[in-house]
């Protein structure tokens, strides 16, 4: 994609919305049916858990956010805050078709966001369908390594910026149970647990573990 699409002034006038630094664009749990295209400025995506605010992502011009609102009327799953003065285009289900005709490039971008999300969700489902929690946790690291585009056959030790709580969330198991398994892995020297970081000593070891479990699922 080119850095930023060329929107005529009329388009910006019609759909544009400005936010000042630190303004909330939308808030976690807020009902919402609009989605956004970031034109100027930067936006952080955050979530508050156990009384601390965690930054999940920082969005740059050209990115789409809040797009799940056109699929479902669920509350927002995260908070978005402008970290500098920001210009966005705001769309809803209602003006969506107008948008596609006027700016098919933007609709294609949205298609790609969805396509990527389908891949991500399918990958997550593969983790969840494993039977043993140990295998699930190992598979979370494999998925993260894939997302980093790491070649498993050439790499052994990989460090991940992740907490036990996040690992637990990924594989849908209890935080306590996940922590126990991670501690066990650490005792076996398969991982090193640090503050906000987990180092996998040999990712191939996890790959073999997951693969052996996945075959059993398929044959049964």
């Amino acid at each position: 994609m080119p850095a930023i699409m060329d929107f005529g002034p009329g388009f910006v006038e019609k759909f544009g919305k400005r936010f000042k630094k630190n303004d909330i664009i939308f808030c976690e749990f807020e009902p919402g049916n609009t989605f956004y295209f970031l034109l100027e400025g930067k936006v952080k995506v955050t979530k508050i858990s156990s009384d601390t605010e965690k930054i999940l992502d920082v969005l740059e011009p050209g990115e789409i956010f809040g797009e799940m609102a056109i699929l479902e009327s669920a509350p927002r799953s995260a908070t978005t805050v402008a970290i500098e003065d920001t210009l966005v285009l705001e769309f809803s289900k209602d003006n969506f078709e107008t948008l596609i005709t006027a700016k098919p490039e933007l609709a294609i971008k949205l298609l790609k966001v969805f396509a990527k999300r389908i891949y991500d969700q399918k990958r997550r489902l593969m983790i969840l369908t494993l039977n043993e929690p140990e295998a699930k946790i190992a598979d979370v690291f494999l998925m993260l390594a894939e997302n980093k585009n790491i070649n498993l056959s050439e790499t052994k030790q990989i460090s991940f910026d992740i907490t036990p709580e996040q690992v637990a969330n990924w594989c849908g198991i209890d935080k306590m149970a996940a922590t126990q398994i991670l501690n066990h892995f650490a005792k076996q020297n398969r991982i090193v647990l640090k503050q906000n970081e987990i180092i996998v000593t040999n990712i191939n070891d996890f790959y073999r573990l997951v693969n052996s479990k996945r075959k059993i699922v398929k044959n049964s």
């Binding site: 909330i24 749990f29 056109i70 596609i100 396509a115 990527k116 891949y119 969700q121 969840l128």
Partner: protein, 354 residues
């Protein structure tokens, strides 16, 4: 290079699963099968592509590995588009984009549901109080402007919500702090419990029999622990418990509520928990769910978490929301031991619901 016509013999493969995708295909003539394994069952699935249909779109569009193998069943002719050529094509045919968006949305919804069905440990909470608590977070952290935004939006979405009055109070506090100190500055903000602003429950409400054998136990252990040194909080707490014992839940609720604005943290937690039980006994199921959800988010490590979940589950069940009730009961089982009273109750409830 323009899009190209390509011929394939029956039995040949156009692409394999996990191949890196550079092209999108359109079947002009013939018959093609897409073969893949179902993620959940591992079983082989086959989709038939008919003439005039695109395939390899999702992977081709974002150049990801193919999710399926494309097998040629009868001699076929396909048109091969590079990703860029395909984009150029659909840019001129926006109806294709719409169709694809719909197809992708449906897939995403379906997978989302499958994923959700596995993530059973996600506690069903209530978006209204969750939304309000974001405002509380910002205010506590002296982000006054953001707090005001959230409270205002809360009032906007829930003008008659249970925290609407509190939200208005909070805006005043935040505005004052913002004027005096500015964002990020000023003394620690002391927030009253939002449930204090809630309307008092009339004691004339209908009562149900207390189905709870642990009230007295708790009462005993509590008294033992604090012998000979009874504070006002303890006095109110014990009064509340004895009111509950004589089925006066509305009055008990009011006594417990008084404790929330006092000092003893340990008793405040106990009182807050008992208030939920009162709401439940008063058959105020929606309020019970809100109350205990709030309890869970405030005291996620408290030993009464399974019991709170049990009450949420039982309230959902009374409201006819079986699935949510079952999710809660299952969560109770995962958090408690088979010997626990609450485990047995949840187990029993699960059997009855099925």
């Amino acid at each position: 290079m323009p899009p190209r016509l390509k011929n394939f013999h029956a039995g040949s493969i156009i692409y394999f699963k996990d191949d890196k995708a550079d092209f999108v295909f359109l079947l002009k003539e013939g018959k093609v099968q897409l073969v893949y394994n179902d993620i959940q069952t591992g079983e082989e699935q086959i989709d038939i592509i008919t003439t005039g249909e695109f395939f390899g779109v999702k992977s081709g569009l974002i150049k990801f590995p193919r999710e399926e193998t494309a097998k040629v069943i009868a001699n076929s002719t396909v048109i091969e588009f590079s990703s860029a050529e395909f984009e150029a094509l659909i840019t001129k045919n926006t109806s294709i984009i719409l169709k694809m968006l719909k197809a992708f949305s449906n897939q995403l919804r379906r997978i989302g549901k499958q994923v959700q069905s596995f993530v059973t440990n996600k506690i069903q909470t209530d978006p209204e109080s969750d939304f309000f608590s974001i405002g509380e977070y910002y205010l506590k952290n002296k982000k006054y402007t953001q707090a005001i935004t959230v409270y205002n939006r809360y009032i906007n979405y829930y003008p008659n919500g249970i925290f609407a009055a509190t939200a208005k109070e909070r805006i005043k506090i935040a505005q004052k702090a913002l004027n005096e100190y500015g964002d990020g500055d000023g003394p620690a903000v002391n927030l009253t419990n939002p449930y204090n602003a809630q309307a008092t429950i009339s004691s004339e409400d209908s009562f149900i029999e207390l189905n709870n054998d642990d009230v007295n136990n708790q009462n005993e252990s509590f008294v033992n622990k604090n012998e000979g040194n009874t504070s006002e909080e303890e006095r109110l707490y014990n009064k509340g418990l004895s009111l509950m014992g004589s089925n006066k839940y509305g009055e008990a609720y009011s006594e417990f509520k008084k404790i929330l604005s006092m000092n003893r943290e340990d008793i405040k937690i106990l009182a807050f928990f008992e208030m939920g039980k009162c709401l439940f006994s008063l058959k105020k199921y929606e309020d019970t769910i809100k109350h205990f959800s709030n309890f869970l988010s405030k005291y996620p490590k408290n030993s009464e978490v399974p019991a709170a979940l049990y009450y949420i589950g039982n309230s959902y069940q009374s409201l006819g929301e079986k699935q949510k009730a079952m999710d809660c009961y299952k969560k109770v089982l995962s958090l408690s031991k088979p010997n626990d009273n609450v485990y047995r109750k949840a187990e029993k409830a699960l059997k009855e619901i099925k």
